[in-house]
Amino acid sequence: MYPFTYSRATDVADAVRDKAGHDGSAYVGGGTNLIDLMKMNVEQPAHLVNVAKLPLAKIEDLPNGGLRLGATATNSDTAWNEQVKARYPLLNQAILAGASPQLRNAATNGGNLMQRTRCYYFYDLATPCNKREPGSGCSAIGGFNRIHAILGASEACIATHPSDMCVALAALAPTVRVSGPQGERSIAFEDFHRLPGDHPEFDNTLAEGELITSLDLPEKGFAKHFAYLKLRDRHSYAFALVSVAVGLEMDGDTITDARLALGGVAHKPWRDHSAEALLKGQHATAETFGRVAAHVVANAVGQGSNDFKIELARRAIVRALKQAAEGKQEAGDVYLGGQ
């Protein structure tokens, strides 16, 4: 770990000012990803601005019927918030499927969005990595890539975004509110994370110095028909190989609105609008689900050790759609697999 100076911000303006005043500085919330990366010498900030105790921990109703998730509310508090459980059970389940209780207690909502993509080689300074050192090459391509991307990857990077929470958010489509040296702005969740392209060093579209202040969920929560399905190499405390978030609105057995997002398959939480369009107006049948699932993975590309993810994703989508249509998954205090 490289040395750094430290300060604790008292309010958002103070945080933004403090960060702007220090070259190579970073915000730290829960620290569960940043400090991990600093210990690996992957991240080497010269100054940390602690934002964990900013007054941004509230979860409150919005005038438009939506719900505001404060950026420094912990993942645990968010998952177990009564409003979240009642109105956005998909988010509740996705958060509880991720990491461990200890990590969820420390990790903040803003930090969850800010976590870096996960890749063995990104974490290991002994190997080249375009994300760490642009131009040095991607070791995962042609290497061991069990956990890597099948959708939206580039020749520069095939890493995946590891969040579970963000997969549900991709389906729920909140607005990300940020504050920065240039003032405040809102970013559609879908536009927050980016695909690697030629610049895998950038995971998101934040401008220098911007700080996430809240996630504003729209009113529609898909609370009756939803599913979060996570598949991994052990039954808990493991990153997703593939995860699927589904939200449906149903009229009888007809799907009137649909959201579909995947985790563990791309550099960003992977929402598929065209698949959603295919679902709308259709009957909730195995045939429909199969067709949509095939559509989602139609352009998927395997890299060798992750070839199986294409078939796994296809099957997982079918299962998650079926579960959502049946409406049997409930919000809860614990995620028990959703299978």
Binding site: M1, S139, G143, D233, R234, H235, L241, F308, L312
Partner: protein, 743 residues
């Protein structure tokens, strides 16, 4: 009522309160004054040379004390033998910081020592090292035809016995036959505690090393050899080890580094490896196995052939007994066993829980399942038809073997009779259900151990032996043995271990501690007992006058005649009347070769497992395991059960998730952390039933114990793999069985 019969009961661990309160001190938890911290720098390449180490840049940082590397290590021992520890395999042991040559990835190439841990870590990150890289080979697949039979070398290794009968002809003439290859990748021990050594500088060239090790004497002897230290100059201590599983059998480079720095800086130094570096200290080797089997019309084995090939380093012939077990677990007249190594540019493998047996057992027991199916037999029935009453490898009877009883009790508890033979024939909870079984054998050994027993006038007994406690319950069982031998309550006994100031005990491993140290403890207490008897007989009116030692017994704080319990004296009265403040006795224990030479001595087990498989998604849930173990006498039902429960967890991990993946391009393990080298978590573990089938065995040792640290792991992995086949009809022969293999 006898209150001092402790053996075979289930008392709580005597060291439990210390462990749950966080006051048990592990090797990184001795806060010696003026401590400096060392951080190891590891090679990023698998093969080549260090060309330059730009150490001066970081030496200039205030607070950095020194950078040690091959460039500046002082004169150390020159000959290989000085680096050979008690269980070093054949070849030349790795010498840390000895030369610029890189022979494996993550090889330690430097140690940075600083005033604080954080500074040492930072300085290590800054240290620039130039390497010249050479081509490496880390892929066992490329060495299939380059296997060689190793010579001897390592203690405990036995080359496979020569073939018996005519295995090839018998296979050709068999009614049914199978042939299959089984594989598993490298696996790492990954004890929870990182390898750590705190070396205390005691001045005047003297040191105490608080080291994470399974053998304090092994480390002491190594340090004496390597650093030329005298017997009185180095003391090695390990009173609590945060898990070993074999990783601590040999001295690790952490202790070398810490001692080197301490001697050079004349200051206490602590070196702690990172979790990533824990993947550079030995592993269960990547292994390929070929099994051929054939049966006679009556379902007995006509031929059994088992060949194994595994990796080793360029510098040592690491060996383990993989195939030998296949020649003794089942009755078969025609057997051929083969064992080969192949050299790769990796670190030497290292014994890991049930070394060899765990690997070979998967091949044998999955093949037995395949053979049972080929012969149209229930897998349990097939094993019963091939039950071995004699060890055909050595043509001797077993000193005891209640495997049949294990089969019977475990099958009944599990409900094996509800199983339908056909694959894919059982369903539950919308999933495919499968039931499988497997069993194993491990040897019961005893090695030379010594112990000292001391009793004070107030009747408090202290027993010492330099064995180890890495979770097996050593403190507790030794306390039980000592207390029962001298008729004391557990509270009156303190067992001390893990210190080279104590009588020598063997490395803790191989499931031999209970038998070896336990016998030494019993002998030391008996030697003390004889002294007490003499004291008791001093008064002219002693009720024990003329009694021989074997005519008396220590029970409930009394010493009494076995045949007349009223003729008794109170132990404390004897001690107090003697005027002595303390009595002591030393003793050691060796196996009784004369008694044992006609027998094969082994523990056995069987495991039954049930799985549910989501056919669409390939996910596997182990829903139940029943494990039955026949391992002589069980000293402590509670701690022994925990060992078997833990073994089942290990077997499950090996079956379903554990694999260290090598990227052959870099010759480097890629998932070298706890996020991507998966070991089971609580949610993976089902209800587990443990059954101990008691065996009376006075041949193995006077205590009648065979040890259970390893045997419980056998059978489990195969049982789960066989259950997955039963559920799905898919036979996965390369472990671990991850969900993609079932899609």
């Amino acid at each position: 009522m006898t209150q001092t019969n402790h053996i075979g009961k289930a008392p709580n661990r005597v060291d439990g309160p210390l462990k749950v309160a966080g006051t048990a001190h592990y090797s990184g938890e001795f806060n010696v004054p003026h401590l400096a911290y060392g951080y190891v720098v590891s090679s990023p390449i698998a093969k080549g040379k260090v060309v330059a180490i730009h150490a001066d840049e970081v030496r200039a940082l205030p607070g950095v004390l020194e950078v040690f590397s091959h460039e500046n290590v002082p004169y150390l021992a020159w000959f290989d033998k000085s680096y050979k520890d008690q269980i070093a395999p054949g070849g030349s042991p790795f010498r840390p910081l000895h030369s610029p040559d890189i022979t494996f990835n993550q090889q330690p190439v430097a140690l940075v020592v600083a005033d604080t841990f954080e500074l040492a870590r930072y300085a290590a990150a800054l240290l620039r090292i130039d390497y010249e890289q050479e081509d490496h080979e880390t892929n066992l697949e490329t060495k299939r035809t380059e296997g060689y039979a190793p010579g001897g070398g390592k203690t405990g290794f036995q080359a496979p016995p020569p073939p018996r009968g005519n295995p090839d002809k018998a296979l050709k003439n068999a009614t049914h036959s199978i042939e299959a290859e089984y594989a598993h990748g490298a696996q790492h021990h990954n004890p929870m505690e990182l390898f750590t050594t705190t070396v205390e500088w005691r001045g005047d060239g003297k040191i105490t090393a608080y080291d994470k090790t399974q053998g304090v004497y092994n480390v002491k002897n190594y340090l004496m050899g390597v650093f030329g230290l005298g017997k009185d100059e180095v003391r090695v201590v390990n009173q609590f080890m945060g898990g070993g599983f074999g990783a601590g059998l040999r001295p690790q480079y952490s202790v070398f580094m810490a001692v080197l720095a301490t001697l050079e800086l004349k200051r206490s130094v602590r070196v702690t490896l990172t979790r990533q570096q824990m993947f550079s200290i030995g592993h269960r080797p990547n292994t390929l196995q070929l099994l051929k089997m054939g049966t006679n019309p009556d379902g007995t084995l006509a031929s059994l052939q088992h060949h194994a090939l595994h990796e080793t380093s360029q510098f040592e012939d690491y060996t383990e007994n993989i195939v030998n077990w296949s020649g003794m677990l089942y009755q078969c007249e025609n057997v051929k066993l083969g064992y080969q190594l192949a050299k790769l540019d990796i670190y030497s493998p290292q014994d890991m829980r049930a070394p060899g047996a765990a690997s070979g057992n998967v091949g044998l027991e999955v093949a037995m399942d395949e053979m049972a199916y080929a012969a149209g037999l229930d897998p349990l029935e097939f094993r019963l038809r091939n039950y071995a009453d004699r060890d055909q490898n050595v043509d001797k009877p077993f000193s005891s073997k209640k495997l049949r009883e294990c089969y019977k009790q475990a099958a009944a508890k599990f409900g094996w009779e509800t199983r339908t033979q056909k694959p894919r024939s059982m369903r539950a909870n919308g999933k495919l259900r499968g039931m499988g079984m497997g069993g194993g054998v491990w040897d019961a050994t005893q090695t030379k151990s010594a112990a000292k027993a001391l009793i004070s006038a107030d009747g408090k007994l202290t027993v010492r032996s330099a064995t180890g406690e890495n979770g097996t319950g050593t403190y507790t069982i030794m306390t039980q043995i000592a207390a029962e031998t001298l008729g004391l309550p557990l509270e009156a006994v303190t067992f001390e271990l893990g210190d080279t100031d104590q009588p020598e005990a063997p490395i803790q491993g191989g499931s031999w501690t209970a038998a070896s140290v336990g016998t030494a403890v019993k002998n030391a207490c008996d030697a003390l007992g004889e002294k007490i008897l003499k004291l008791a007989q001093k008064p002219a009116d002693s009720p024990l006058k003329d009694a021989k030692y074997d005519e008396v017994e220590f029970v409930n704080g009394q010493l009494r005649l076995r045949l007349d319990h009223d003729q008794a004296v109170v132990l404390r009265d004897v001690l107090q009347a003697s005027g002595e403040t303390q009595l002591e006795a030393d003793s050691s224990a060796l196996p009784n070769m004369l008694k044992q030479q006609g027998y094969s001595m082994h523990s056995h087990n069987v495991a039954f497992a049930e799985v549910e498989v989501d056919e669409d998604l390939g996910t596997i849930k182990v829903t139940r395991v029943v494990s039955a173990v026949a391992a002589g006498r069980i000293l402590n039902q509670k701690t022994a059960r925990s060992q078997v429960l833990g073994s089942v967890v290990w077997g499950l991990g090996m079956a379903l998730m554990e694999e260290t993946v090598m990227d052959h391009k870099f010759g480097r393990y890629v998932n070298h952390n706890f996020a991507e080298y998966h070991i089971p978590v609580n949610a993976d573990i089902p209800h587990i039933d443990v059954i101990f089938v008691h065996e009376d065995d006075d041949i193995v040792n006077p205590l009648g114990v065979k040890g259970i640290g390893e045997v419980g792991m056998l059978g489990v992995t195969a049982a789960i793999a066989n259950a997955v086949f039963h559920a799905t009809g898919k036979r996965v022969r390369d472990l671990p069985i991850m969900l993609d293999k079932l899609l």
